[in-house]
Amino acid sequence: MSKSAQPGCANCGASLAHEQTGLSVQGWNYVVALAGNPNTGKSTVFNALTGLRQHTGNWPGKTISRAEGGFRIGNDRYKLVDLPGTYSLLSASPDEEVARSFLLFGRPDVTVIVADATRLERNLNLALQVLQITSRVVVCLNLVDEARAHGIDVDTTGLARDLGVPVIPTVARDGEGIDALLAAIRDVATGSLVCSPRRVRHPNPALRAAIDRIAGHLRKDYPHLQQAEWIAQRLLAGDTRIRQAVESGELAELVDSPLRETGVPA
């Protein structure tokens, strides 16, 4: 079970993998990533989905590296990866970098964005960024009980229409909504539900043209690259980490030997 468990790390119930690559997918049909702002209850959702009892804590930044677990729907086995919380995919502290790299290059079959229903606006900032990278997304609108207690009511049907992906209200602590979440994950993973995510385009036409041009260049250099627009946009914004990935050939490596083939049962 333990892959590269940290010695002395008293809080890691599940096995941890700190490297950006090296996710073992043997025996799994699908890979699901859990992303979201810090302290929205990702680890609690992780526990609710997997039945594991990974330690959770009520403070932002608790999960600093990937934790992995698994669950089963029908005959399919899903690998679940709990990512560190991030406010955005634009800056990169070491813990945010773990999440960003995995979403970009780990190519999860489904990305579950855990959002805090009491702070929807800020949580949507990240959700919209994730939707730029992948279309296979389920939004888990967590903590709806707290929202209710605060007198906040979120129109999940309307929100799902706005975002173009399923939105499932949950109270992960009590297991509320987890069945519906599992069903949505299954639908997106198997392809029986195809999302049409809201892709925010750049407001400036000149920059839009520049992004398209660089994206075209990227697609020529890396035919398998799936997030060319996003990488083009980051390159033009002067993102040193992404630039480094191009310079060092890391991008080529990641694209040519993805962590896994999508949807192929092992």
Binding site: A10, N39, N58, I64, G151, V200
Partner: protein, 475 residues
Amino acid sequence: MSSGTEQPSGLLAEVDRMRWAMPPQAHDRWVEHLYAEAAGIAEHRVAAAGASTRRAWERRLDRWLTSRATGVPAMLLIFAGVLWLTIVGANYPSSFLAANLIDRGLPFLKGLADAVSLPWWLSGVLLDGMYLTTAWVVSVMLPPMAIFFPLFTILEDFGYLPRVAFVLDNSFRKVGAHGKQALTMCMGFGCNAAGVIATRVIDSPRERLIAIITNNFALCNGRWPTQILIATVFFGALMPGPLQGLTATAAVLTIAVLGVALMFGTSAFLSRTVLKGVASTFSLELPPYRPPAILRTLYTSLIDRTVFVLWRAVLFAMPAGLAIWLISNIHVAGQSVAAWMIAGLDPVGLLIGLNGVILVAYIVAIPANEIVIPTILMLTVLTTGMTEVGSGAGVIFETQGAPLSALLHAGGWTTLTAACLMLFSLIHNPCSTTIYTIYKETGSVRWTVWATLLPIGIGVVLCAAVAAGWHLLAG
């Protein structure tokens, strides 16, 4: 990583060309646009039905817990409460475990060993060495951990830790460190290795290094039992009955607060000398208070922390027990190796208010702080000759015949020894696991050496100063 190699296709050159031609602040405008979209959706889909009652009490509580005037006293009071519950509560299960595992278990096992006529050295190694050390670790460590960790976890689940960060933020900024260091410090109160890993939440490499090097000043679970035991035996005993628990709590809290003070001091020193720079800003949201799920918390903290840490201690205790038995039973020139070491280190030990036994114990216990106290007890038994059963050279310890304080006093301990041991236990090199973790996280031998030698240097100087001051005052 080979940087600077130009792509054959000229991708980066094209990027650079286009970046020059870009309208100013195009990127910022894009982020603004994205956030405006998010705001638009949220406004459209969220209906807030007036103010809620929950927010009102949360605000009131936050005023008490995070305000300038009451934040720090509230924090001290909360931690004192946790410590007091641990000290008072751990007493009973501790003596129960000691009575069963040591006073009853050991003679029983020795009888068993005699019945199957085990050779003396084998029963010595297995029972007097490994079993006894392990039994000591379990009875000294398990009860405080089983109380302290769940209480700490409940505080964490409730949402108190970010408030600690909020209260201490200004102080950390003043010493040129990152405010999130308060969070990694709190993790360090559990385990320094975990605390060092937790520093990944700090973006700035300079401030992260400061947080890594100073994390050792957060008293970890391997050292809490030492503090609690010595404080109870020496400082609690100075007071009449009902005040004993409070006095011991005050002593332990003083040490923990001193640790935090040292963390600030060394952080300031580092950020003014070898790690110069100003603190970077960051935002930390205060999460809502969440009623902790008490039963689940008890379960997870028992499985994740208590059992995990105890298992580690047992793993280290067994070989250490073996080592203690061996150095006590291998004789060179008419004296056991342990006796030679103790005699050799005694002058140095006394100079810094300790003694040879304690220093030898710290050498034996380099792998894990958890086993310092058991090692001290065994070596003291050996040197005072307060042994009972066995072949005379066995490392036997009987709590019934010789209460802890009587034993330690017979070993020449004074209140000064106790005070210096508590100080030294706070301020010495990190355990081997933490040192290894520091090396892995920093990837630098230089900073690992800094993190190892800085605390022990401070510890020796401070203990020597206390000892000198004590002797000056005493006569």
